[in-house]
């Protein structure tokens, strides 16, 4: 059994629609998203950037335990959400909190995990956003399951499953792509290739021509896109979602971007990469690029921008306020959710703690 394969291979160069200087780049088979979509994305980018900055500040103030920033990857964060319909699902990682907020989740609930009050703070079923996955690539299989269940029910749900370049090395990445392909489940796998897995560079992660070249090994179309070009991302991810929804099965998209900041505040990039390596990427910033384009095309005014900045500031304000006060942690929650019904053993154990607390008083 062999089928024609060529169409499953990615383009040799990532798709770009707006170059780093903000100039449109015509691309056969790809078209510039309509102005409203781009302006919406631009506004969301401003909020995402503001969210990253505020989160970093809250870490410095000890209000957040840890924060893996998506600074410089905001175009991916915004586009992977903007292409989804309300009924669709997002499966994010620890790095994708900005995407979760773009999806409309309350920023304070979105930061529950990183703040340390609980493992996850929002309602996955109501928001259609899975809990942020820490064990790498494991959530890609859950995404396949959610999509498969939807398909069995006849829903036209599409699932956006996000992971990093490092996660592609895990066995679960392989199994998720293969299951999705064999069952033709409507999942778009977005790999944010930011060149690093903590300190490990891409060259130690793979010897493949590109990560998108992994698609053909599953019979899945692989595509490469400039991860700092929100226009290209909206186009490529948008049509991947459309194809998945149309029943063409899973799609694999590799977005080429860069982790300009540390892995988290606990990391020390000076040990494994040079400033010279980082600097050029600052010139490829996803915000400035689309802003230049929109201004050049006369699609936004100064007052539009200040409006967007004000919206972003409101989110930041909500973060400062919400994370300002200490949350009240209730030990009973530790025993309440282990099972639908606590076991007799858990009841005994909870009683031991409440007795301790009673005696403390």
């Amino acid at each position: 059994m062999t089928r024609d394969a060529a169409h499953l291979l990615p383009s040799t160069e990532p798709v770009t629609l707006i170059d780093p200087d903000g100039h449109p780049v015509p691309q056969v088979g790809h078209s510039m998203p309509d102005p409203q979509a781009l302006v919406r994305a631009y506004a969301a980018l401003i909020t995402a950037r503001r969210f990253n900055d505020q989160a970093n500040a809250l870490v410095r103030q000890g209000r957040l335990a840890v924060y893996p920033s998506s600074h410089g990857q905001e175009a991916c964060q915004v586009a992977c959400v903007q292409v989804l319909a309300d009924g669709d699902w997002l499966f994010p990682t620890y790095r994708d909190t900005a995407a979760i907020v773009t999806r409309g989740v309350d920023p304070v609930q979105a930061l529950t995990l990183l703040r340390g009050d609980w493992h996850s703070g929002y309602d996955p079923l109501a928001t259609r956003v899975a809990p942020q996955a820490t064990p790498l690539a494991t959530h890609l299989l859950h995404a396949v399951g959610v999509a498969h269940a939807a398909r069995l029910r006849g829903d036209d749900t599409v699932v956006m499953a996000v992971c990093g370049d490092g996660a592609t090395s895990e066995g679960d990445f392989h199994e998720a792509l293969n299951f999705a392909a064999v069952f033709r489940t409507p999942v778009v796998f977005l790999v944010q290739n930011n060149e690093y897995a903590i300190s490990v560079p891409l060259a130690r992660q793979t010897a493949a021509p590109s990560l998108a070249h992994k698609g053909i090994g599953y019979g899945v179309k692989g595509e490469r896109v400039d991860g700092n070009d929100v226009a290209a991302l909206l186009d490529v991810l948008g049509s991947a979602v459309d194809r998945a929804r149309a029943g063409e099965g899973p799609q694999l998209v590799e977005a080429h971007t860069y982790r300009v900041q540390a892995h988290t505040n606990a990391d020390d990039p000076g040990r494994y990469r040079s400033e010279e390596e980082v600097t050029p990427w600052l010139g490829r910033d996803p915000l400035t690029r689309v802003e230049t384009y929109l201004r050049g095309a006369g699609l936004i005014t100064e007052s539009d921008k200040s409006g967007f900045v004000a919206q972003a500031e409101a989110i930041a304000e909500r973060m400062r306020a919400g994370l300002g006060e200490e949350p009240v942690a209730d030990y009973r929650e530790l025993f309440a959710y282990v099972y639908a019904e606590p076991t007799p053993q858990l009841r005994e154990q909870q009683a031991l703690v409440s007795d301790e607390l009673a005696r403390e008083k």
Partner: protein, 326 residues
């Protein structure tokens, strides 16, 4: 009342569950047209179609991971791990997700999921086909762990496991698959978490579960010939644990032996000894003894008889229960 094998009972439980609830989905390796290597899913694809009972690619982490996602989205997956040792690739999905999702989401997302594992030895299986892996699961908070010892419990507990809102590791003793016994399948679905006294006795209590139960009953029968009256408790459910029934039994005799096929070190049998001793210390005339597998990899077929708890080994342990202190 009809006589049937545990394999029949399990197949009937799956069939009845698939009929009763169309969110139930059965999948795994070779569970479709073949009906599973032990035929537990025999005929299900034919009756319910390839969407309700289907084969997957050969990847256990994939099977369990996809099942978790399906459970997140309203379905009740029942997956088969072909043999005990072949569930290990799914360990991370089981421990870090199936067991923790409800807790992670503050109760918002439960994972109603059954992981069926044909387990333990006594069938002349080669390496990796005879592991008793219950300790790994029983130690993991968030999982229920059950092991039937007869066809009636196999049916009832599997129905209960499928109806459970939480993940259940369902351990099927391979060597009992084809043992036949009467079973009334019309009884109401039993709760998970209750042990049962299989045989009354007054001198000492044998505590067993899964494949060790028939051996314990045999030992009790043999002891009776020698004029010693042994009570036999079948745990049925390892998590949750039925302290009430087990402790009442041990208090009634003052002596106990725990019988299990798994290696003994840091095992379910360790837990039974520890928690029963903690609760019944002053009713005990002698320390609780254990008859378990040795702390070795499961032997090859020609030597497995050395590893399996035997009637004689159980009776030896009973003899050591310091009768002079009575």
């Amino acid at each position: 009342m009809e006589k049937l094998t545990m394999a029949n009972a399990l197949n009937r439980a799956l069939r009845d569950a698939l009929r009763a609830d169309d969110t139930v989905m059965v999948f795994g390796e070779d569970v479709g047209p073949l009906g599973g290597v032990f035929r537990i899913t025999d005929g299900l694809t034919a009756e319910f179609g390839d969407q309700r009972c289907f084969d997957t690619p050969l990847a256990e982490s994939g099977i369990l991971g996809m099942a978790i996602g399906m459970a997140m989205n309203g379905l009740r997956p029942v997956v088969e791990m072909q043999f005990d040792a072949f569930a290990y690739p799914a360990f991370e999905q089981l421990v870090s997700h199936a067991a923790k999702m409800r807790n992670r989401t503050r109760g918002r997302v439960g994972i109603p999921l059954v992981i069926r594992v044909p387990y333990a030895g006594g069938v002349g299986g080669v390496e990796h086909h005879c592991d008793s892996s219950e300790a790994y699961y029983a130690h993991t908070p968030g999982l229920h762990v059950v092991a039937p010892a007869d066809p009636a419990d196999a049916y009832g507990l599997l129905r209960a496991a499928i109806e459970s809102p939480d993940p259940v590791v369902f351990l099927e003793p391979k060597k009992l698959y084809f043992s036949r016994a009467e079973a009334d399948l019309s009884l109401p679905v039993p709760p998970i978490g209750r042990a049962v006294v299989r045989r009354e006795g007054t001198d000492a209590t044998l505590i067993a579960y899964g494949p060790a139960v028939p051996v314990a009953l045999e030992a009790a029968e043999a002891a009776a010939q020698e004029g010693r009256s042994l009570q036999v408790v079948d745990l049925r459910s390892i998590v949750p644990f039925d302290d009430e029934t087990v402790c009442a039994a041990v208090r009634s005799t003052g002596r106990a032996v725990v019988v299990a096929e798994a290696a003994g070190f840091a095992s379910v049998s360790s837990e039974v000894v520890a928690r029963v001793t903690e609760r019944c210390f002053h009713s005990l005339h002698a320390p609780i003894r254990r008859v378990t597998g040795f702390d070795i990899p499961y032997p090859p077929p020609k030597l497995e008889h050395v590893q399996l708890p035997s009637v004689d080994r159980i009776l030896d342990a009973v003899d050591e229960l310091q009768w002079e202190y009575a």
